[in-house]
């Protein structure tokens, strides 16, 4: 079967966070979160712990919405989406995320697409997983240049949701909403607490740091045999690159 690839490790890490969910939503162009959600759903079904709705907006087949493009946001605002994934051009130590660009707003030095749905989703989805593969001082910064959505809110602001964890190519961090601070939970194979510190532009805690566990053989087999063919249907480029599959 061979070792888990980097992508398979990330799929496994993300799937762990979704194990108990009833509804996981995945935005556009997110093959790794999409695969993680489908994996978590399959494992939950096997454990006979009930159904999991996986809504992948990018995929006609896995997009269950019939009330137009606003329905995802409506469902989320009602608290009915358990987990969602957000990225960021920049993410800072308070878990503020920036999807708009680098430099001074509005002209910016480098403009990126924009905030998408983050300025609602980050507030209302109980478990938002920040997922950014590139882990560098350029992406993980002291303070973002533009707050697409803040990591925490003032008392009194309706904020049932927020950041749960940050997953990168190098590690997994938890986020403590009370203290507005990240805590290194596990480093991926080849990384150390020091290498993470070096690659990170913000301060974080680092007690009880483990190595990120690779998926066991059963899970790895499931990813390759059961999940990969599904991913092929709507992320053909990704499935080709990671698993050598062709549509």
């Amino acid at each position: 079967m061979g070792e888990a690839t980097r992508e398979e490790l990330l799929i496994s890490v993300l799937a762990n966070m979704l194990a108990e969910d009833r509804h996981v939503a995945v935005g556009a162009a997110s093959p790794i979160p999409g695969a993680a959600a489908l994996l978590a759903k399959a494992e939950k079904a096997e454990r006979k712990q009930g159904r999991m709705q996986v809504s992948i907006i990018h995929s006609r087949r896995h997009n269950p919405f019939t009330d137009g493009a606003r329905e995802l946001f409506d469902v989320a605002a009602r608290g009915m989406i358990d987990s969602f994934f957000l990225g960021g051009v920049q993410i800072d130590g308070q878990a503020n995320i920036n999807l708009v660009g680098i430099g001074d707003y509005p002209s910016m030095k480098k403009r990126f697409p924009g905030s998408f749905g983050s300025a609602l989703m980050y507030y209302v989805v109980p478990k938002v997983v920040l997922f950014r593969e590139e882990h560098s001082p350029r992406t993980l910064v002291e303070k973002v240049d533009f707050i697409s959505a803040p990591g925490t809110s003032a008392p009194g602001v309706h904020r049932p949701g927020g950041p749960h964890a940050l997953v990168t190519n190098r590690c997994l961090m938890d986020f403590d909403r009370q203290r507005a601070r990240f805590s290194l939970r596990s480093v991926h194979p080849g990384e150390t607490v020091d290498s993470i510190r070096e690659a990170t532009g913000f301060a974080f805690d680092a007690d009880d740091v483990a190595e990120t566990p690779a998926p066991d053989a059963a899970r790895l087999a499931r990813i390759r045999q059961e999940i990969a063919p599904q991913i092929l249907q709507f992320y053909p480029e990704f499935a080709g690159r990671v698993w050598g599959l062709a549509a």
Binding site: D67, A77, A119, F146, I147, A154
Partner: protein
């Protein structure tokens, strides 16, 4: 008898007048690329794009061609083909006014128009830099709460015109939109709505409840143009996929102003020279 006028793609481009506030659909909703080319052809200028909630190649081309004065959107991007180069340049040089929003806010401001109310509330937003740059939004204390509970009210944003592309219309002018119901809200929120379709089919979508469910009623539609392949090179759900090669070609070409101009020239179009 049809209940809706049939006009040409070029006539639609004429009806989208310079300076108007134009509703623009996302890539999954049916993007009117034939009309987009006709707008560039006629040298449209000062368009204000209201994106529901984002735009891809349509917005980037219109911006690059010099047709756009402002954009309100949750994102402008070529998606898997990368950043939107003309957009990024235009923001960086300040040649367009960018009003950053977030998907649900763009939906909500049209829902308020749809419902005939001056505003609608939305959760989230508070403490973001989006909100900080939107003096047109108002935060009030939730009047139904006894505790501190600020909530943002978004004003209704009526559009001058909406244009989208759909698989087909029936003989009466009812348009099949399927489950892209954001197109119904877009239409309800616009003074005029023009639709291009792959084809006009016989019959009446309202004859059966099963087909009526996916219909936008003809009485909302200002005029229809037949435009086979009218979303190309973008795709049209269940009809044809995006033309990945062409999109890649565009993404590469648009990286420089010259490359963009060459791409337009390849389609018999040119960048509008400044007034």
């Amino acid at each position: 008898m049809t209940d809706v006028d049939h006009i040409s793609v070029e006539e639609i481009a004429e009806a989208v007048t310079d300076g108007c506030l134009m509703g623009v659909p996302a890539d999954y909703s049916g993007v009117p690329m034939a009309v987009t080319r006709a707008l560039i052809q006629r040298g449209a200028r000062d368009l204000q794009l209201y994106c529901l909630p984002l735009t891809t190649m349509q917005g980037d081309m219109l911006i690059g061609a010099g047709c756009v004065a402002g954009v309100e959107a949750a994102a402008v991007t070529l998606g898997e083909y990368g950043l939107a180069p003309s957009f990024s340049r235009a923001v960086q040089t300040g040649s367009i006014q960018m009003q950053d929003s977030t998907c649900p806010a763009l939906h909500t401001q049209l829902q308020a128009v749809e419902k005939g109310v001056p505003f609608m509330p939305l959760r989230g937003l508070i403490g973001s830099d989006i909100e900080a740059h939107r003096p047109d939004w108002r935060t009030i204390p939730n009047p139904f709460s006894n505790e501190e509970d600020p909530i943002v009210l978004l004003p209704a944003r009526p559009l001058d015109v909406a244009v989208f592309h759909a698989p087909y219309a029936d003989a009466k002018g009812n348009v099949f939109i399927g489950r892209q119901r954001e197109l119904a809200t877009l239409t309800h929120a616009s003074r005029q709505t023009f639709v291009t379709v792959e084809k006009i089919v016989d019959g009446d979508l309202f004859e059966k409840e099963a087909t009526a469910a996916g219909a936008l009623p003809a009485f909302y539609v200002s005029a229809i143009a037949e435009a086979p392949n009218g979303a190309w090179p973008l795709g049209l759900t269940d009809v044809y996929p995006p033309d990945a090669d062409e999109l890649r070609r565009y993404a590469a070409a648009a990286r420089s102003p010259d490359g963009f101009a060459d791409y337009l020239a390849g389609q018999g179009l040119s960048v509008r020279t400044a007034a």
